[in-house]
């Protein structure tokens, strides 16, 4: 039996800021992710999900608990061993604007990753291949640009390119879709689907959006005030949520459900299927065709 790709056991972290009350951000949280799986961690702001992500990535040290990557506990690693192990676990951050060094070009950013992953020299062909994977084509249009010169969707693709470049076993994505337009969001998710299919990479997808969790994850864990209050396969949790907080989150999603009738492509021709019937020439969006008091 293969060990889970990522196993978080009883992690706890309390912040003690100088002039305020101690904040128990993560309280005895356990979570595991199997190979090739996508686990969604759903919670709102303040739930502790971002702290959990940072604990998993070993960017901050927990007060108690362990993190196991591919079966090996990271807690006892020496700094050098930890640095090598890190490449197996890559982040995608929420804010694409802060995700990149603003003074480095796309080429420099991706080259740095590949060098860290062991490449002795990095040629443009390798970079082009990497960019092609995230559908940033043609590569020469992007290599010399700076992150701030890219659109939001392009930056998020770049973030994904950087995350898969070292071929990690698991990608921890902290709200990778928030702030993205709806069409971009679907595109990015498609990309993540492809990468999982091609590389078998596992995802820990952190989101506040139950719709995304429903669409994309195998399992879902709901986090509230530092604890995981519900966990299970996505289908089960959504069909029969036990905790009222979960029910609340699900209700918000249902606002978009049918009766949207688009599972059947809408007919386009001007005959009976046309939702607008025969043209009524004056009906523009403005009010000029209406006879109203002004």
């Amino acid at each position: 039996m293969n060990p889970p790709v990522l196993e978080l056991s009883r992690l706890s972290k309390t912040f003690r800021p100088r002039d305020a009350m101690p904040l128990r951000a993560v309280d005895d949280v356990s979570l595991h992710i199997e190979r090739g799986e996508c686990v969604a961690l759903v919670g709102e702001s303040g739930s502790g999900k971002s702290t959990l992500a940072r604990l998993a990535l070993r960017l901050i040290a927990p007060d108690s608990g362990t993190v196991r990557l591919q079966g090996r506990s990271l807690m006892q690693f020496s700094p050098q061993a930890l640095r090598a192990a890190r490449l197996m676990m890559q982040p995608i951050f929420q804010d694409p604007a802060a995700s990149f060094n603003p003074r480095r070009t796309v080429r420099a950013i991706l080259s740095q990753v590949l060098v860290q992953a062991g490449a002795t020299s990095v040629g443009d062909e390798q970079l082009s291949a990497l960019l092609a994977r995230v559908e940033l084509r043609p590569a020469r249009d992007y290599l010399n640009r700076y992150p701030h010169e890219l659109s939001g969707g392009q930056r998020q693709r770049l973030a994904i390119a950087r995350a898969i470049a070292p071929q990690p076993a698991v990608i921890i994505a902290d709200e990778p879709l928030s702030g993205a337009d709806v069409s971009i969001r679907a595109q990015i998710l498609n990309l993540l689907v492809d990468l999982q299919r091609d590389f078998g990479v596992a995802y820990l997808l952190i989101t506040h959006d139950m719709l995304v969790a429903r669409a994309f994850s195998h399992r879902v864990a709901v986090m509230y005030r530092g604890r995981i209050i519900e966990e299970g396969s996505t289908g089960e949790v959504l069909a029969a949520p036990r905790h009222p907080y979960t029910q609340n989150l699900i209700a918000a999603v249902q606002s978009l459900d049918p009766p949207f009738a688009h599972d059947v492509p809408a007919p386009v021709d001007n005959r009976s299927g046309n939702p607008l019937q025969r043209g009524y020439a004056g009906s523009g969006p403005g009010a000029s065709h209406l006879t109203l008091d002004r």
Binding site: L82, F93, R103, A108, Q116
Partner: protein
């Protein structure tokens, strides 16, 4: 201008950018002019500025364009030589202060801990001190000499640079890409110097320019008080000579004073301009 990715000074077609700030452009030109005078002035206008002649207290005009002082020394020659001293002291002191301050501030901001606390206390100490008086006292005790003056100015200026560097490093190190670098296994020191510092350096450079102006002013003040070395031709010393003849030979005070004023003004304006140009909040917007 070749573009060096990562070098903030060549990014974004610098010449076109600086031309959006006419004050900055004017200051930069003026400073370049001064630098030119410092380097080749003595060649173009030879003559020992310290040479005593019998043409004492001549008005400006005629053979001596800016007049002479009470010992018959050529004011223009003294000004031309004085540029070297002012610029030398200004740049070296500012450079030392900036390097020292940046190093200390960056380490304090990035690693925190006891080092940060100690550095901050020292910086605060210098913040509340009346720096000019301190400068006078130190130079008076240590004795005159250009190197001493430079050292004193650097000593008094580094805390300010350290504070700015620390603040910027703190801000930048909170950005996600720093964590991204950590997740690649890059060691902390390389992150500090390779990722954080290049993004934090903008305001520090702008401050450095202001420090040059401040250093020039401080040096002029010290030599005005006679605390600089007597055989150095310095604008401040000219002022102190001119003081005795303030109302009779106005040119002995006016021209050096004007020179100091314009130079410090130029550096201040340049510093302001750089501060705006290099403001990280504006990058890419």
């Amino acid at each position: 201008m070749t573009r060096n990715p990562g070098d903030p000074n060549t990014e974004g077609n610098g010449i076109r950018r600086i031309s959006r700030y006419p004050a900055g452009l004017a200051s930069a030109s003026f400073i370049l002019l001064l630098a030119g005078v410092a380097i080749i002035g003595p060649v173009l206008y030879p003559g020992d500025p310290l040479a005593i002649s019998e043409h004492t207290l001549l008005r400006p005009g005629g053979a001596y364009w800016l007049g002479t002082d009470d010992l018959g020394r050529d004011v223009l020659a003294e000004l031309v030589y004085g540029v070297r001293v002012s610029l030398f002291v200004g740049f070296v002191a500012a450079f030392a202060a900036t390097i020292a301050g940046t190093a200390v501030g960056a380490i304090a901001g990035y690693f925190g801990g006891w080092f940060d606390t100690v550095v901050m206390r020292i910086a605060e100490f210098f913040q509340v001190m009346p720096t000019f008086i301190l400068a006078v006292v130190i130079v008076a005790l240590a004795g005159p000499g250009l190197t001493r003056v430079i050292a004193v100015i650097a000593l008094l200026s580094w805390p300010q640079t350290a504070r700015v560097a620390r603040g910027e490093v703190l801000r930048v190190s909170r950005l996600d890409f720093v964590d991204g670098a950590r997740c690649l296994g890059i060691p902390e020191w390389r992150i500090l110097f390779g990722e954080v510092l290049p993004n934090a350096i903008g305001p520090v450079i702008a401050l450095g320019t202001l420090v040059v102006g401040y250093a020039i002013l401080l040096e002029a003040s010290l030599s005005f008080l006679g605390l600089s070395s007597p055989d150095t031709v310095s604008w401040g010393r000219l002022l102190s000579v001119g003081q005795r003849f303030l109302f009779s030979a106005w040119w002995l005070s006016a021209f050096p004073g004007l020179a100091i004023f314009l130079t410090v003004l130029a550096f201040n304006l340049l510093g302001d301009t750089l501060s705006e140009m290099l403001n990280p909040r504006r990058s890419g917007n």
